[in-house]
Symmetry: C2
Subunit: 549 residues, 2 copies
């Protein structure tokens, strides 16, 4: 039996484009002699469709798309993912389903049993979990078909009280197929491989796994679909961060062969290489799927905006990136020079707009109210907000989308101005710690100096008052980031972090800053997610809450 | 048996304050001869604690608080709500539990079975549902104790496949007690009464229901705890929007008596009366629980900011409200006069800051980039954003929180400037349609003219260009709001709405505008929720998604 795995990039709710893409792959797979082509979870509508799923019309359109696809599926079978109405009058309205399609008709339906409802996932908001499991008979082979999380219940730490494969295995299936929508985090590929390998070994069955690829606002799907043999050996690893259609032959003894050159990675990519590729895909899809081409950003001469500018130029083409220098009284000469060098290295567009007169006009307007009061954070924020108003005016006049350049460390401790440098349509590096931003700059510069060396080596500064340095009010970034990882990602208490050897006063200060900044993060743009715990939909904190560890 | 119901206002994660409040009520109830005092769902930590629940330390603090409370609970029994570790190694880490406490010890634990995971609720994110149900024996009476949603599975439209009371009733209990955290929406009191009445009648048991009161950022809890007799007759309705401790005597025949004057509402409050009270509580708690006293807002002379200003003055005291007039070249004389009249009527503080020089300075700074291009939305937005920068500078200098004054109709169609009039710490009327804002103004003026009549009767305008009116680009608000209710709250398709008799072009335009504004709403402040479907945590839409009905 020849099985094709279609790892494609869908657009949420774009039925026309998704349907066409699926049908094209069905035709292509049939022309290549495949018996079965497998698409990923909820492919007809894209994932996650979120509250679109609560509109009856949306569900009807999903079914119509599935029927259109079915009609084109002759001379080959396919598996597609589609949300379907729950036939049981009790429980939620929908199931997260897979359709098995043969001879132009849906011949079997499998519903997902294990519904992830943690971190970025909300599946229990929409779907009723399945409690019935049955294999699919196709050309003399019994297929144990499951959907993503259904294989994701580990023996050591079982998140769910059921395990669909434990029922399906009783039918003695010949092969496991799993369709998924498993979003990227820099450590997720290893976890995914380990869990799927464990399933193949435990049930002693070959396993074909098809994942989404492509970004949906903040969520990036990295592809990397996988094939395991019945001994749990990884037979193939499909490409990461791009579409792919691959063919595998499963013989009657359960052996798997294929003709293409395997894309199994000899050596795993580093975290930073993966983050780099993920962010490029994230930027590119955000623009293409929202129908925009041109990005704008403020270029300070610092490392954060330099890295974002370089990523944007790579993702969209330098001709589609407008870098705006917005110097104030407090901008250093080297900052302007560093920004100009970067623009030259990238070949992107640039403008310089002086903000001195604007900030002066604000201070004059407020002269009476602020009389005799010292320069403080109010005036610092006026600078950051004046820049935002200018950048947004450029967006409104010329149709740019503003890229936010805040990093995760800053976002964590609230080191940024709401409605100032925290503006933007999408936050590019808001899930990248400052220490990783430096690594990312080095990665970008691997072949040639794109980001000026001086930008990388000089001490970080917001340049909102004379001689300001980030370390005036924050610990060194290596220390800060290490504490943040413990608090944000491992959810340790301050006592637990202090026990690891960090200074007590620093730990308490950092955690306090993180908690006090919830109201700011609530109003920031969506953040491209690259870590297992990003700010945004995956971290939902009370704003007016008192708990401080 | 004398039962006390404690309807209290908790602060999320403020264990010291919550514990003290609970213990005070235990002592008071004991002094008043009660046998049992009942507190609401998850009262030890407040509701919803959201991802605080994922911190082990937070769960430990909940248990410590429960033990502190237990020690004080002698000579009386109590029921409190507390998150507890799930003892089953399979499934989620936590249960949403009720402790029954007697003689200083936890003598029984009940876990919630039906976990709401729709709209604003995310309980399946944290809790494993209970599958075991057992009554509690207390002083010869058998208590069927359930938690909120456990009674919320209607016969007509069952959202869940189990119904805890169907098991508990087999033990022949004497009384039902339900502890809840049921947030306010203007129609929710009627639904709540109907469902609880239905439970009392169906199981032929007296029912004591205790709800939270108080606001937690966007969620307002309205109290209104209820008592039903075994025939399903409402015996008492506790006050709405305020704390209360009431006593009831349940005799051996299941009859209920009490000595206080009943607060059953003869006539139900109107939607607008409820919204008015809800918003006052929402503002007051947002400020008190975040440790702020002083609000600021921009006063345009229009009805939205006038209503918000009046509500803020009522909630915080006029001495704690700073109204800032920020006239531009396009502000009409009557606007300034109307704003000044309001300030006078309220007795709040006010400042006037001219924005002409600021907007001029932006236009000069952009002169080269904008050369020969006509005035358009870019310049309009500069005005709105200049005002925001000035208001935020006042916040940063003096410690105000900015109140957002956008209404729900505007927020729906994106009629507002991101980082301009869409700024603020909390959105006061972001869940109130424009047509309801007019009613709210009349309600505020019920006893005397607070909001100038001219503010109410003049045609709404953003005054961002000469002679501008809202109806230049939007349908009349009555039509707009009627379409929005169908789309947002009833999730109708455009075809469905057009079938109701609305103009096709208008319907399509409105729905398109709503969908295109998702990226703006993503970055707006939390919105005080007063309707069954508010923007914010209860409505989770893709930003980069194509589906347009």
């Amino acid at each position: 039996m020849k099985i094709a795995l279609a790892q494609l990039n869908y657009h949420i709710g774009n039925f026309e484009a998704n349907t066409k893409k699926i049908i094209d792959s069905i035709h292509q797979a049939r022309d290549n002699g495949a018996d079965l082509v497998v698409f990923s979870e909820l492919c007809v509508c894209g994932y996650p469709a979120r509250d679109f799923l609560e509109f009856n019309e949306f569900i009807d359109l999903c079914e119509q798309a599935a029927q259109t696809i079915a009609k084109e599926c002759t001379g080959i079978a396919c598996i597609i993912g589609v949300p379907t109405p729950n036939n049981n009058p009790e429980g939620k309205d929908l199931n997260n389903s897979a359709y098995f399609i043969e001879n132009g008709k849906v011949t079997a339906q499998v519903n997902k049993a294990l519904l992830p409802n943690y971190d970025v996932f909300d599946e229990y908001r929409y779907f009723e979990p399945s409690t019935q499991f049955k294999c699919i008979d196709f050309k003399g082979k019994l297929i144990a078909l499951t959907i993503c999380e259904d294989l994701w219940n580990t023996i050591e730490n079982p998140l769910y009280v059921t395990r669909p494969m434990d029922t399906l295995i009783k039918e003695n299936p010949d092969v496991m197929i799993n369709i998924a929508a498993s979003p990227f985090a820099y450590n997720h590929d290893e976890e995914r491989i380990a869990i799927l390998k464990d399933n193949a070994s435990r049930y002693k069955l070959p396993l074909f796994y098809v994942n989404h690829v492509g970004a949906q606002t903040e969520l990036i799907f990295d592809g990397g679909s996988l094939v395991f043999d019945k001994d749990g050996k990884m037979v193939d690893e499909m490409p990461y961060f791009k579409e792919s259609l691959c063919y595998y032959t499963l013989d009657d003894s359960g052996n798997i062969s294929f003709e293409h050159e395997s894309t199994i990675r000899g050596e795993r990519q580093t975290d930073i290489e993966q983050i780099h590729q993920g962010l490029i895909l994230g930027i590119r899809d955000y623009f293409s799927k929202s129908g925009f081409k041109q990005a704008i950003l403020g270029l300070s001469g610092g490392i954060d905006s330099a890295v974002v500018c370089a990523l944007a130029a790579e993702a969209l083409g330098p001709e589609n990136v407008m870098a705006v220098l917005l110097p104030s009284h407090f901008s250093s000469d080297h900052s302007i020079k560093d920004a100009e060098d970067l623009v030259k290295n990238l070949g992107c567009k640039s403008e310089t707009i002086m903000i001195g007169n604007v900030t002066d006009s604000f201070e004059k307007a407020l002269a009476q109210q602020f009389k005799n009061l010292p320069f403080n954070i109010a005036e610092e924020n006026i600078q950051a907000r004046s820049r935002a108003v200018l950048l947004m005016a450029m967006c409104n006049k010329f149709g740019y989308i503003l890229l936010n350049t805040s990093n995760k460390s800053e976002a964590a401790v609230g080191y940024g101005t709401l409605y100032g440098d925290m503006c933007g349509g999408i936050s590019v590096i808001g899930d990248v710690y400052k220490s990783q931003v430096f690594e990312l700059a080095r990665e970008i510069n691997r072949d040639r100096e794109i980001i000026p060396e001086n930008t990388i080596v000089k001490p970080p500064s917001a340049e909102l008052r004379p001689g300001q340095k980030d370390t005036d009010s924050l610990p060194e970034y290596d220390t800060l980031d290490a504490i943040l990882v413990q608090y944000l990602e491992h959810r340790k208490s301050s006592a637990g972090i202090i026990n690891q050897g960090f200074d007590e006063a620093v730990v308490r200060k950092v955690i306090r800053l993180v908690n006090l900044a919830e109201h700011k993060r609530y109003q920031t743009p969506p953040i491209l997610r690259v870590s297992p715990k990003a700010f945004g939909m995956g971290r939902r904190m009370p704003i007016v809450g008192k708990y401080l560890t």
